[in-house]
Structures are given as C-alpha cells and as structure tokens.
Symmetry: C2
Subunit: 401 residues, 2 copies
C-alpha cells in the first residue's frame, strides 16, 4: 500500500466530463490499493473570470482581497471533484488550503509555505477517504487566506507529498511527459523515461514549460519523486528524481526560449566596479539578468552584453540610460531578435566533445552564434530568432536521433 | 459614534454598479461618524450557478460538499465589495464566516449559530476599518464550513448585531420598508415607521416576504433594533423593535397568503383522541397545520377542517386516506381555491370592534368567510381566492385610509 499525491491542473477539471475523467483516474489509483491525496487547481477559466470581476471594480486591488477572491476558484474545484468521487462510490472529502494545514508567510499573491500541519489530512486518510485538497492557497499567521502565486498548485502537491512522505507525486498535465524537445516542432522528439531534478530545472527555465520551477526545487530539496503524466492518456510518464540510470542518454533535451532580449553597452571604462554598478541597477528594478558577456577590452574600454526577459528590456534600457554617465556614456543598444537555444544533460561536463558537437550542428546550418554560456549541465547559445527552430532540429538530430 | 450592522442581499451586489452603490451607502454611514460592519450575500445568480454545477455532477450531493461549494459565493462578494470600498478610499477588510467567528452546529445546509467569537471583528473595527463579513456561513466543531440555510445572511447580520451590541441592524432590500399592504396591489398602502417584532413575525408568516422569520425571532430574542430599508433609495425605512409608540396606528398591516389549502374530514367520531390522531399523522410527515376549525358535532360525529401549505396538500390527503379507517372512514376533501387574509396589530385585542370592522368590510363586498382564526395580534379569515385582493383593499380602507 503506497501513498500517492496526484495533482490536476485547471484544464483537467474544466467541465463535468473532465472532472469525471479525473475522478476515474483517482478511483483507479485507489482501487489499485493506494492511499490517495488529490490536489486541484481552479477550473479552466475560473481564475481569469475572477480577475476580470476584480478589474471591473479597481485597477489596483489589494493583494489580500485578491487572494480572498481567487481562493474561491480552488474551493469550487475540490467540492465538485469530491462530489464526482462520491458519485462513483469512492469515499472522499474536500479540504481547503487552510483546512489541509498550509501555513504560509504574509506575502499575499506570492506566499511561501512555512509549515504544513498534516494532522487533518492524515486523520482523513486513516478513515479510508481520498482527500481532495485545494492547491495554490494557504493561511498566514493572521488567519488570512493567501495564495502561492504562479504554479502554486504544483508546489502545494509537492509540499504535501514531502510532508506526508508520499511514495510519489504525480503531476497530471495535457502532455504525456517530458520530451527531448518540443514535440509540436520536432517530430522525432522522444519522451524521457527519467530526468534528474537539475536537468528538469534547467529545461523549465529554458522555456520547456512542463513543471513549475519552484515545485521542482521543493521536490529536489525534500527528494520527492515526481511523475509528469497525461490526464487524457495516463500511461507512465516521465519520472523526475535525484539520479537517473538511463544509459547512453547524455543529452536530455534541447530547448528554445524566445523570451530573450540582448542589451549591449559599448565602451564602458575598464575599471573595477563597473559590472557591479550596471547589475545592481537592474537588480533594484527586479530585472533578472541571464547570460553575461564581457569583451576583453582595449584602450581602457570594454563592451558589456547581457540578456534579460523580453518584457523587461525597455525598463532595463531606460534605467541604464538614466544613469548612463556612470558608465562613461557608452552607447546602449537592445536586440529583441534573438533566441536562446540550449542543451541539458547532467553528465555532459564529463564528456568531451559535447560543445563541439553542438557548434558543429549549428555551423552545418550556417547559423551564427552571438553569445555562449555554459554550466555543469547545460550549454546555451544566443542566435537569431529566425534560426531558432532550425537550430533545435539540427542539435536534436546530432545528439538524440 | 454608533455601531451599525448593514446587510445587503444578492440583488444589491449583483454587478459592478450595484456593488459601488452599496459601497457608497457604507461610505456615507461611515462618514457620518459610525462604525460599520457589513454582511453580504452571494451575488445575484451565483448561488444558482453553483447549484447547477453540482447538479451536473450528481443528483444527490453530500451536504458537506454542497456547503463547501456554496460558501464561495459570499466569499466572492466580500472580496469585491471590500475592493470597491478601498477604491472609494474607505479602509475596509473582508472576513469569511469562519474568520468572523461564526461557530455553528453540524447541520450542513441548515446550520444554526452556536457561538459568535467577535474578537477578530472587534480588532478590525478598532483599527478603524469597515468590516465586510460573508453572510450565510460558519464553521462547525470539525473545522468544516457550514451554511445557515434560507435567509441565512439576515440571520448572520442580526447575530453579529446582537454579539457586538450594535445600535442598529439595517436590512437593505429592494423595497423601502414594511407597508400596510402590498403596495403593488393596494396603491393606498403606506410605509410603516415602526412595527413590533411580533407584528413583523405575523406579517412575514402571512406572506409579506420582507424579512426572514428566523432573523426576526433572533432580533426579538436579543432585542436588536432592525431597520428594513431600500438599497436603491436609502431614505429611512421601517424600524422593527420591541415596542412601538405610533399613536392611532392600531392595525399595522393587511396581508394576503395564497399558499393555503383547506382540508376537511367529515363525520369524524366525536370521541377523545381523534384530533391527536389526525394531527400527529401530519406532524410525522413534517406538514405544518395552520388554522384548525372543528364543528360542534351532532349525533356523535363532528367535522374537522384545517389549512396546510398548498404544496403539502396532496401528501396530507394521501396520509389521511391511508389511515382513514382510524377516523371512522369520514369523507376527506381538499379545497385549493382559498386564500388567507389577515390583519396584524399589537394592540387590537384591547380594542373592541376590530373583528367586527373587518367582517363588515368583507360583508360590504359580499365576500363569504369560510374560516376564522384569531390570536392576540392578528385576525385571519379564509375566503375564496378570487375575492382575496378585493378583501385586502376593503379591509385596508376600513382600518388604514
């Protein structure tokens, strides 16, 4: 008898038929002899509808009241799914975030879980009930409802799995698992049987939006085995865990990220503290910098290039312009026509030739590389956006097929 | 500085404009120097929409899950109204039923308030905030969400006013107060300045659906002064309190109730225990009997007539038929063509001539009286349904105009 946490997103419970589809998956898991805790998100468009209601009232709602409003979405889902389970003859009970013991900090709309009191969930499991928990929400020290922010239901599920020492946490989505590349773009992309937490983190941050990063980090921290699995066709999906043993699978995935702007500052004085001045300015504006490239410099000057999310490009440029005198008045330019293409694989650093194979694949397609960044488990290149799909295909061919 | 509890129903907060209308009423009350606690129901059709969602899943939802589902309706309302208040510059905070301290028994879907812990509400008032509370809901001893059943938000408001020792509890509706008769039918009907709890209870049970009876009973029990007032045109409405001092206003209202069936049993043996047998049979079926008339009897037989709600008539007749032998096999008949017309006024018993004035008014219109029932503060007659409106007008003319 295993304990399994199953998480279903908003699309998976968007209407009556999808709710019963989920109820049957849960029933089958239960009938196979497992204890089951289910975490659900708000139905389909519910959250957007609630946000629209608030927008009619005010353009600047208080975060506390917004959380009060949005938390109703998951509460509706848990009640309906529990009714469906009961209709199928499965003993079940719904619990809101606060009933399930999610204690968070005070940061409305992006709260972090501080403590999880599993007493109620465990007592319901002991009564042989399937426990249906509202994801995305918790309670702060003032007894006020909070929400966990984007991807919050994944985080709720992983936190519950960790606190309950569950045997597995299954994240049900509309895809069948994690692929070596986007299967809509690369027909030869294959589903991975296993992937490590670190590889998953790199792939997620590189634009392969399958799992929310925060939930993967939490799963890594508490060593919760995840499975990414389809709610439409629940065949075995992709297991995400600490170490994998898949032989010969050096590169786990090729990912593309179009959300990249390259900002360059020419002729920065080559004196100590210049990088600090630039990047502390951006940090103050909450702008995340990814790849940084610094030219080696000549005649006491150097060039600085770095990437930021596309949506932050204008804010970054205007912040830099307003302080341009501090950087010696060098010319600031922004390039929004770039994409980042990356390969991820935990073992690549100990294998020679990975980078050269990647660069050869790009060269074979006559694709120019603008920037390069490497880490232990990934290599990223910045190239022209128009070349990105061709690049992913060529790299995927070189490594995986 | 007074403390005022204001309750707004679902129609009053059904959309953005109505929400801001309510927010302005609250703001004006606040700006007049009062502390304000607001109780709101779910928006317009929200509850019906949620019930429809559940009906798609199951024809027999668990009451617990139904309460979990329905409680989201008021939670949406309190968040939106609080946002509107904040948008108008009014410091405000929303509280769910459980946050506001409503502790109930375990009876899902028709829970009764056991205890109200006002600590949180009082601490928010002390911070100069308008407190916006979700009506209709509470928490039972298992920390599970309950709802109070029909008219629950009125009850929530009165309970809060009682526990907080509020100076007044205003129930906002779509009518401007309590009238001497239905103003849509009797153009001369006038709005009452004041009415006693007992008179209000009689009027409500007689078909003048302004206030929920349970909330009036609670207000009477804790001596909470109520005001029935319009949310569209919030001029002074009708005050409901223990004693009124309106001179010369003997009769407070004339009410009509079409929801009446008269059941007759002919030739019941005139022996002890017969009435008990009849009415205990109906009590077992949860059928409320209102007016009872018993003929004086002759030759060891008597006739028994009584009224029940129209919807219960068939059930009553079939229950009686199945046990007809116990009543000597007397003929059982049902009359669905009657109406009950009543006058209500706390002082009528000490004034002679009230009944005769009423009967004279009916006689002047040539209306036949089938049954008569009197109590300390009301006189009811059962007449033909087709005569009911004419009767109300004639009686209203005789007493009020």
């Amino acid at each position: 008898m295993a304990l399994i946490v199953q998480k279903f997103g908003g699309t998976s419970v968007k209407d009556r038929n999808r709710i019963f589809n989920v109820a049957r998956i849960v029933m089958n898991t239960r009938n196979a002899g497992n204890d089951v805790v289910v975490v659900v998100s708000a139905q389909g468009d519910t959250t957007d509808d609630l946000i629209a209601k608030a927008a009619e009232i005010t353009s600047d709602p208080s975060h506390r009241e917004m959380d009060m409003l949005l938390a109703t979405g998951e509460q509706i889902s848990i009640a309906l799914l529990t009714m469906a389970l009961q209709e199928l003859g499965v003993s079940a009970i719904s619990l809101t975030g606060w009933q399930a013991g999610f204690n968070t900090d005070r940061a409305y709309s992006k709260a972090r879980i501080k403590r999880l009191d599993t007493e109620r969930v465990e007592s319901e499991l002991a009564r042989n009930r399937v426990v249906v928990v509202a994801g995305f929400q918790g309670l702060n020290r003032s007894d006020d409802i909070t929400t966990l922010g984007r991807g919050g239901s994944d985080t709720s599920a992983v936190a519950l799995a960790a606190a309950l020492h569950a045997d597995r946490c299954q994240i049900f989505t509309d895809v069948e698992g994690v692929y070596t590349a986007d299967p809509r773009k690369i027909p030869k992309a294959t589903k991975l049987k296993e992937i490590t937490f670190d590889e998953m983190l790199e792939l997620a941050s590189l634009g392969a939006q399958v799992l929310n990063n925060r939930s993967v980090e939490l799963a890594k921290k508490y060593n919760v085995e995840l499975e990414v699995i389809s709610s439409i066709n629940p065949v075995p999906g992709t297991i995400v865990k600490e170490e994998t043993n898949v032989e010969g699978m050096l590169i786990k995935g090729v990912a593309k990220d179009n959300d990249v702007a390259v900002i360059s500052i020419k002729n920065v004085p080559d004196v100590p503290g210049m990088s600090f001045k630039v990047f502390s300015l951006l940090a103050q504006k909450n702008i995340n910098v990814d790849i940084i490239l610094q030219s080696s410099g000549s005649e006491g000057k150097k060039d600085l290039s770095f990437t930021v999310p596309l949506g932050d490009a204008e804010a970054a440029v205007s912040a830099l312009n307003s302080a341009a005198s501090r950087f010696g008045g060098g010319e600031i330019s922004v390039d929004k026509n770039s994409a980042k293409v990356s390969i991820v694989g935990a073992g690549m650093q100990s294998h020679s030739g990975v980078a050269s194979t990647m660069f050869e694949a790009l060269f074979s397609q006559n694709i120019n590389i603008k920037m390069i960044s490497t880490s232990e488990i990934k290599i990223s290149v910045i190239i022209d956006k128009q070349d990105a799909d061709k690049a992913v295909a060529a790299i995927h061919d070189a490594f995986i097929n």
